[in-house]
């Protein structure tokens, strides 16, 4: 059962740490929890792909394609055999860029080439696993619009000067208007 995506920040970020899926367990295999961020708007920010290899168990699909694609807003468990190595390629669509990357729930520096590799998967990660699922690793990609600020806006949002200016200006105009009108009447 999937938890719903939680919108965070001002733009297009899936809240990876809370979005953990539950999948059917298999004692011999381990899973990699892959989450591709989205904010529910349906915009495709980027794609995560991984190549099937001999270790890859699931997802087993009927297509002859060797590539597993995880679209924006999707979560997928890639099931691998113990000792396997699995590589994920993140391709960001035009106009967007990677904001944060969580690997095993830890924020890491985004890789320059968008490649994330899990090597020699042998143990389930106790932090990631649930009662019914042995999750060895997780990968969560969050995006932002290209050029959007990377840190929060910490300017003084109490706009003292504009507000004080507006009040003084309106007061001044009122006085001028009233005096002018008085003169006209006189």
């Amino acid at each position: 059962m999937k938890k719903t995506l939680k919108t965070m920040s001002f733009f297009a970020i899936a809240f990876c740490s809370l979005w953990l899926g539950v999948a059917s367990a298999s004692a011999a295999n381990f899973k990699i929890d892959v989450i591709n961020g989205q904010d529910g708007s349906g915009i495709n920010y980027g794609t995560i792909t991984t190549t099937k290899n001999s270790c890859t168990v699931t997802p087993a699909d009927s297509s002859s394609s060797n590539i597993i694609t995880i679209k924006s807003g999707q979560q997928l468990y890639v099931e691998v055999n113990p000792g396997c190595t699995q590589t994920f390629q993140v391709t960001v669509n035009e106009g967007y860029e990677i904001d944060t990357v969580l690997v095993d729930r830890q924020y890491v520096q985004p890789s320059a080439d968008g490649v994330y590799t899990f090597s020699n998967i042998t143990n389930a990660n106790s932090l990631l696993s649930t009662d019914t699922s042995d999750v060895a690793h997780s990968l969560c990609i969050k995006y932002k619009k290209k050029g959007a600020p990377s840190s929060p806006n910490t300017g003084d949002v109490a706009y003292v000067l504009p507000v004080a200016g507006a009040s003084l200006l309106s007061l001044g105009l009122m006085i001028i208007l009233i005096r002018k009108n008085k003169n006209v009447k006189a």
């Binding site: 840190s151 929060p152 910490t154 507000v163 009122m174």
Partner: protein, 820 residues
């Protein structure tokens, strides 16, 4: 003293006896030398009244036997007072009468001359005159006291050289400024008389006018034709008076009408038994046609009448003597002049009616059958000349051949009865206008006309001589032409001016009507007609009303716009005021909240140094290591993870951590909404501050709270003095040393919290080194833990100012203390 005499009779006799008089003046309070013991004050009062009577009698009878004692009384009672203020002399009726006598009989009044000399009256008057002349040149507004003083001065000088511009100034003050002066009624009457004569002169009056001044506390009950009926206090203006005269001329154009009016008013006044009227005869330009000018003015001092009647009651002998002597003199004089009169029929001309004759005449005429009052105009010339001598001076007249010798002689002394001659008209008029600083357009127009035409004409050769009919008509003709031309040329401008306000229009209209009347009565019917037509054409009421209607409509529209704009401005002002108040409140609220928490969290715990900086040789003693009791903070908000402090700066705040980097931008550490927000750690950083680079955010507040003071790190000196940051957590206190500060564009670059590799960390450090504006020698490597304080700048929205510090010391709180 004789038995049976009344006290007053006794006193009268005392007046004849210097010794007794002296006794009286030196009497004790009981006045024991008299038959009954009245107070000294009583006698002194009576004495003063008798002084008035004696002067009156002397004046009436030309009998100067009372003079020595009168002078003594005056000296005794007034000399000291006079020395203080010579003008008080003129507030006493007896003194004024004495002065009149002095002028008439200078030889008889040698002692009095000495008296006047003693009080230095003339010198004082000259000083006063000079003083006020200067004040008026400066255009200074006089105060009440000065005005009264000035009027006194004018009254003193009234029979000498008349300072007209002073008079005009007084008129201006009283009529234009509506300033009430505390003047005696006599002063007001005098002033008003001046005004009348002056205005008549200005208008070049040559027809009958009937002017009455009433003695009232509010002296000018003077409104249109109903001057005696409407007793409400009004404040007429100079223009109003001129208009009124013009109106009167209309009203009294017919002689019968005038006579009827005058008679009715006279009767009305008489019936009130309040006033007696003294008639002063004036002159008329059309004297020969028996059209005459009669000015009724100068209210007789009521107390004098009362005193005379009192004499009649209490001192009948004295009263009879006065009356009989007086009547005898009058009759003798009349018989001498008019042999035809006899005891049964006496023709009494107005000339014969001196002030006191009129005063007494109602009684005399009623009781003396031989007196028949018959108004005749014969013999008035003499009176007119006398009056002119009294009021006007320095007439240098040149006449043209067309004037007969007889007329010339008459004109020479009488042609213009007032102080003004036509030759002075423009000059005086301009002078008058000068005393009215707020000239409206009409005044300027008139002034221009007067200046351009009258002055020029007059200066060309008419100045200082009386203008004949032909001259006058010529000038007036030009005046009329000029006015017409002016009105035509300026009609559009005038219309524009008039359109401003109907009231202005009315004023303008009234003023021009006044001018029209002035012109009309000069004596040229044709000119009168054409002037009237021109003026009425210009001042078409219909046109004015149409303009006014349009103006009113515009005014209404303008008023609506005004109200809308004003409402919008009030709304903006109210909202901005509300917002300003809210901001100030939020500032205060945040400061208050942080202030409270800062005072609560102090706590001392044993602490041990874990990672001493190898470069440091001295360490702070335990007491200097800041610690925080987090228990109360957790109760407030369990998202508080640490405390930041930079000694001797405003930075001393709890650090919070949310699930994003947004919430605490607008919430205080206690989660209350506030624009100041909180200092919060990037949600991506490790909770135990073990990240390579822990980032703290805070607002760049204008009041330097939160991270508002970070901008001070742009100065090297500030950086040198505030190098160390304390980051206090429940488990440890970390000391960081600041080594870099720089600005960067957050839309292009980003802080990195955990680095993938040493290389990338080193690259990041190198970048910082490049960008920093501080000159720190501190070595920083990839094994170090950084603390980045980030805030906005005031320049660009995406621009950030960042201060970077390296952890240099860790002070661990022992485990058991933590658990406690």
């Amino acid at each position: 003293m004789k038995k049976g005499q009344t006290k007053l009779e006794q006193l009268v006799y005392i007046l004849d006896d210097e010794a007794l008089c002296k006794q009286l003046l030196n009497a004790d309070d009981n006045c024991s030398f008299l038959s009954d013991g009245m107070s000294k004050q009583y006698y002194l009062n009576e004495f003063e009244r008798l002084l008035n009577s004696t002067v009156f009698i002397m004046k009436k009878t030309n009998n100067f036997s009372y003079l020595p004692i009168t002078i003594k009384i005056l000296t005794k009672f007034y000399l000291e007072k006079m020395k203080e203020n010579p003008f008080q002399f003129y507030e006493n009726a007896a003194c004024r009468n004495l002065l009149d006598l002095l002028r008439q009989y200078p030889n008889e009044f040698e002692p009095f001359q000495k008296f006047l000399k003693d009080i230095h009256f003339e010198e004082a008057a000259d000083d006063v005159g000079r003083f006020y002349h200067k004040q008026m040149k400066k255009n200074r507004i006089l105060n009440d006291f000065e005005l009264k003083d000035l009027l006194n001065y004018l009254m003193i000088y009234k029979n000498r050289k008349m300072p007209h511009h002073y008079l005009r100034y007084l008129f201006y003050v009283i009529f234009e400024k509506d300033q009430e002066l505390d003047l005696s009624s006599a002063m007001y009457a005098e002033l008003f008389r001046f005004l009348i004569l002056d205005l008549l002169g200005q208008l070049g009056w040559n027809e009958t006018v009937h002017i009455v001044t009433l003695e009232e506390k509010k002296p000018f009950i003077y409104q249109g034709p109903d001057i005696y009926i409407n007793e409400s206090v009004i404040k007429p203006s100079l223009e109003g008076n001129m208009l009124y005269f013009a109106y009167l001329f209309d009203l009294f154009e017919k002689r019968y009408k005038y006579k009827s009016f005058a008679h009715n008013k006279y009767e009305e006044i008489k019936s009130k038994k309040q006033y007696m009227i003294k008639e002063i005869l004036g002159s008329s330009f059309f004297y020969e046609n028996y059209s005459y000018l009669s000015i009724e003015t100068e209210i007789v001092d009521q107390s004098l009448i009362a005193r005379l009647r009192f004499f009649e009651e209490v001192a009948p002998a004295l009263y009879r003597k006065i009356i009989e002597d007086y009547e005898r003199q009058i009759i003798e004089a009349i018989r001498e002049e008019k042999p035809s009169s006899d005891s049964s029929h006496l023709v009494l001309t107005l000339e014969d009616l001196t002030d006191q004759t009129v005063l007494l005449s109602p009684e005399i005429i009623q009781n003396r059958p031989f007196l028949k009052l018959e108004y005749q105009l014969d013999g008035r010339k003499k009176k007119i000349v006398e009056l002119l001598q009294a009021y006007e001076l320095e007439l240098e007249l040149i006449f043209e051949d067309e004037d007969s010798e007889e007329m010339a002689n008459f004109y020479e002394k009488a042609i213009f009865h007032t102080s003004l001659t036509i030759s002075r008209l423009s000059e005086e008029f301009v002078e008058l206008l000068e005393y009215r600083p707020k000239l409206v357009r009409t005044d300027r127009l008139i002034e221009k006309v007067i200046q351009e035409y009258f002055v020029r004409e007059i200066n060309r050769g008419v100045r200082n001589h009386v203008i004949t009919h032909s001259e006058l008509e010529r000038i007036l003709s030009k005046f009329n032409d000029y006015m017409t031309k002016m009105y035509e040329v300026e009609q559009k401008k005038i219309s524009k001016y008039l359109s401003k306000d109907l009231e202005q229009w009315k004023f303008y209209n009234d003023h021009l009507k006044m001018l029209y009347h002035s012109v009309s009565y000069i004596g040229n019917p044709e000119l009168y007609e054409s002037t009237y037509l021109n003026l009425t054409q210009v001042l078409d009421m219909k046109e004015a009303k149409a303009i006014q209607k349009k103006v009113l409509k515009n005014k209404l529209v303008n008023q609506k716009v005004y109200m809308v704009v004003l409402s919008i401005l009030i709304l903006i002002f109210s909202i901005s005021l509300f917002l300003l108040g809210r901001i100030i409140w939020q500032y205060w609220s945040a400061s208050d909240s942080y202030g409270k928490i800062q005072n609560q969290v102090g706590q001392k715990k044993p602490i041990s140094i874990i990672t001493p900086d190898p470069d440091r040789t001295e360490f702070p003693i335990n007491d200097d290591i800041p610690q925080v009791d987090f228990e109360p903070l957790y109760k407030i908000n369990n998202e508080i993870v640490a405390w930041i402090r930079i000694d001797d700066t405003e930075i001393n705040y709890p650090i919070v951590r949310a699930e994003d980097n947004e919430y605490y931008l607008k919430h205080l550490y206690n989660k209350k909404p506030n624009v100041s927000g909180s200092i919060f750690v990037d949600y991506r950083a490790n909770q135990d501050f073990s990240s390579d680079n822990t980032i703290l955010y805070g607002h760049n507040m204008r009041n330097n709270t939160m991270f508002g003071s970070l901008k001070k790190y742009r100065k090297e000196s500030y950086f040198e003095e505030h190098k160390y940051i304390w980051l206090i957590t429940p488990k440890a206190t970390y000391q960081y040393e600041i080594y870099a500060a720089y600005e960067f564009d957050s839309s292009k670059e980003a802080h990195i919290i955990n680095f993938n590799s040493e290389e990338s960390f080193q690259k990041y450090l190198d970048e910082i080194k490049k960008k920093t504006i501080l000159s720190s020698e501190l070595e920083v490597g990839t094994k170090d833990h950084l603390l980045t304080l980030s805030t906005c700048t005031d320049v660009e929205p995406d621009e950030r100012f960042t201060v970077v510090a390296k952890r240099v010391m860790t002070y661990i709180v022992p485990e058991k203390e933590v658990s406690n």
